[in-house]
Symmetry: C2
Subunit: 440 residues, 2 copies
């Protein structure tokens, strides 16, 4: 019989990621590490709809963000897919204000959507892993230090190598700019942001072109030159005795954050004050964070965030200050995998033990499997017919660490020949002994 069915080429859209089992298992285990770390600090899980009302979701958005949003109609509804997890948080907190306990500490790990031009390592659907602490009216600056501690614990647990959490403060920057007579902060910050790439001379020239005085340019360059330990930088900034309330408040906050970081036992090697951080200048109002992998700076910041005065001003008149961070995990995973920093685990299944029945031992094998499984061990029975070689090769390909062929001898004696697939070592063990061994 001629098979003339029409076959549609199976494929997914550009800019979307899906993984083969080995990478999926690694991806999930890392997401789980993030989740566990967030929970260890008492953050509450949250899940919100991927689709929201456009008028609600896009209340504040314009320009580039709005263009990237997946927006469409269904019936009479104007719908949009969420483009981050912060706007849904703001909506959620405003909507359920009366039923939440503050400070509200939530984490949210979920997919967000941005219709960017697809390019290598940029995704249109990607996971964000967010935490935020939202206060009701006020929120202690100690939370700003705790966020650094959480970033530290998370990246320590993920094990991507050495990393540095860069800390800055918007109030300090704003006050500094005020004190030298700069009012076009955004333009100035955009220039400063390039300093490590293009050098001081170019920056100086561009700042003058923006209309800054030579004195202001010199002061700004002096600020960007500040290096050293947090203590050294804070001391230096204190000595400048700049007479500006915002600067003083920002400096005080930075001082407190650094002081509490000692209590949180965040090692000095893992954080730094960096007065050049331009991140979220139009959004954050106090402490800001960026995180860099020391051996992989080109990746840019892998975990960023900051303090904001008023989370949900679009949805409520309640003042809800907050501080939070986000990890764009899909891109991070893709880039580290591509660079060979992670991956190649060989584990393509959660199965720990594959039982292979021989002759007429299937029913007995299923019984043992049920028993072992009831002790919390992931166990699989090979059920299809076939040659023994093919069955062991199945375990090999999936990276199952242990196998045991179950013949009539084993059945009669209540033992199994457990094979360590890596070392090739074989041990005759009772079912109980196997359970004890694999529970480790």
């Amino acid at each position: 019989m001629k098979d003339d069915r029409q076959i549609i080429e199976p494929s997914i859209l550009a800019g979307f990621m899906e993984l083969l089992p080995e990478d999926q298992i690694l991806f999930d285990s890392m997401i789980n590490t993030i989740k566990k770390t967030y929970e260890s600090y008492g953050f509450i899980p949250l899940d919100t709809p991927v689709i929201e009302k456009s008028e609600v979701l896009l209340a504040k958005s314009g320009g580039e963000t709005a263009k990237q949003v997946y927006r469409f109609n269904k019936g009479d509804n104007d719908l949009s897919l969420r483009f981050d997890l912060t706007v849904p948080l703001a909506r959620y907190v405003a909507q359920h204000y009366g039923q939440l306990t503050f400070p509200f500490r939530r984490y949210h790990i979920g997919k967000v959507y941005r219709g960017e031009k697809p390019q290598r390592g940029r995704f249109r659907e990607f996971y964000q892993c967010d935490i935020d602490i939202v206060g009701n009216g006020n929120l202690s600056v100690i939370n700003d230090a705790e966020i650094v501690s959480i970033i530290y614990s998370t990246f320590k647990a993920l094990g991507f190598g050495d990393f540095t959490i860069m800390i800055n403060n918007r109030k300090l920057l704003n006050g500094f700019f005020d004190s030298v007579g700069v009012d076009n902060r955004l333009d100035v910050m955009r220039v400063i942001d390039k300093i490590d790439k293009v050098g001081e001379a170019v920056i100086a020239k561009e700042l003058l072109e923006l209309g800054l005085t030579q004195v202001a340019v010199d002061s700004i360059l002096e600020l960007t030159r500040l290096t050293g330990t947090p203590d050294e930088i804070l001391q230096q900034l204190g000595k400048w005795s700049i007479d500006n309330a915002s600067f003083a408040e920002g400096l005080n906050e930075l001082n407190q954050v650094c002081q509490y970081l000692n209590a949180f036992k965040v090692p000095q090697a893992n954080f730094a004050l960096n007065l050049k951080i331009a991140r979220g200048l139009d959004y954050y109002t106090g402490t800001v964070y960026e995180t860099f992998l020391n051996d992989y700076q080109s990746l840019g910041s892998v975990c960023s965030g900051g303090r904001y005065d008023d989370l949900a001003s679009s949805y409520t008149k309640q003042k809800l200050p907050g501080v939070g961070i986000s990890i764009g995990f899909t891109r991070l995973f893709y880039k580290l995998r591509e660079a060979g920093i992670i991956g190649g685990t060989g584990r393509c299944t959660p199965t720990k033990l594959l039982l292979i029945p021989m002759q007429d031992t299937m029913a007995y094998t299923l019984e043992i499997a049920t028993e072992i499984r009831s002790k919390g061990i992931n166990v699989e029975v090979y059920m299809n017919e076939g040659k023994m070689g093919k069955k062991f090769s199945y375990a090999d390909k999936l990276g199952i660490p242990y196998t045991a062929a179950v013949g009539s001898n084993e059945m009669e004696n209540g033992v199994l020949n457990l094979k360590d697939m890596k070392s090739g070592e074989q041990m005759e063990l009772t079912i109980d002994e196997i359970i004890r061994k694999l529970c480790q």
Copy 2:
């Protein structure tokens, strides 16, 4: 200053569910139970894009399904949100065929989208929790029994009370209909499906109206009247000695499934043969399953699925038989919560211990918290200023099981006064003793 900002009413779309922390934590823990159970049988996690190409996703769909799909354009792309996890699985397996190891056992827990008319307990965005075993060319019927064992383990672990897994076989039904001269099977099954609601007389009348002979109607009614243990029903069916290959094959498969269920140790009380199950008549080709909560039959089947001959025929000429099930978890959770069968745990946070610093013990408290947290215990420090009563009330509202106020005495002596928030009991313990106690 007058606050005349425009406030947008924070709300979500009808037919979408989001939960407050207490329910979210419960929801997540149940999803985690399902995940752990699926993994204990060696199923591999899978995650696919929520958005797919319409031409790929809708290759086979027409009618009602197509109408419900969220479909839209972005740039030149015709996009659709997935409406189940089976079509994406078929596409995935066909697309990555050469890189997968068969039988391919995957689970997938994720959101799907259907633009149904919203009504109480029906959702447009909902979680499905699926497993499928996909063979390459063939797949042993033992897998069909294993699926029952997985349903059993999952619902046992979820603890929603007694449940019954109903099993039927399409081949047996088809063969039976053939043997009594019925060719409009779909129409006949749609009538039979109502038998428990409307009774035999109505069914008989409607079947005659469909053009069936009286003999055929009598035979069909005899089939639907079959009750008893699986063994009794199988024996009865065997005695009928119907001379039809499909019937014989179906009967043989049912026999094997029941036989292996004993090996899997699925209790007799939890499964039954039910020859009236009409589920997926146009989709499944062998064993079919439906699962009912004994004390909550009105909910309908809470876990359904079956065997199909050819999973990915739209995308590949490879023959890929499979067997699988799906739990529509969002609706199930909503209904059981509404009925008061689950919920009311009082746990609104993963935090196990809240430390409350007094006087000048904040830095010390943060240090202890870091130490306790490093042992895998979820611990939170209350950081905002305020009265002690408010701080304990925070723990109360969130359902944090243990608190400890940290004063200068405690700091000097290296102890904490651990308070069990439920019993009110207080114990003076060292940090190590607290760690040991809370690790339990």
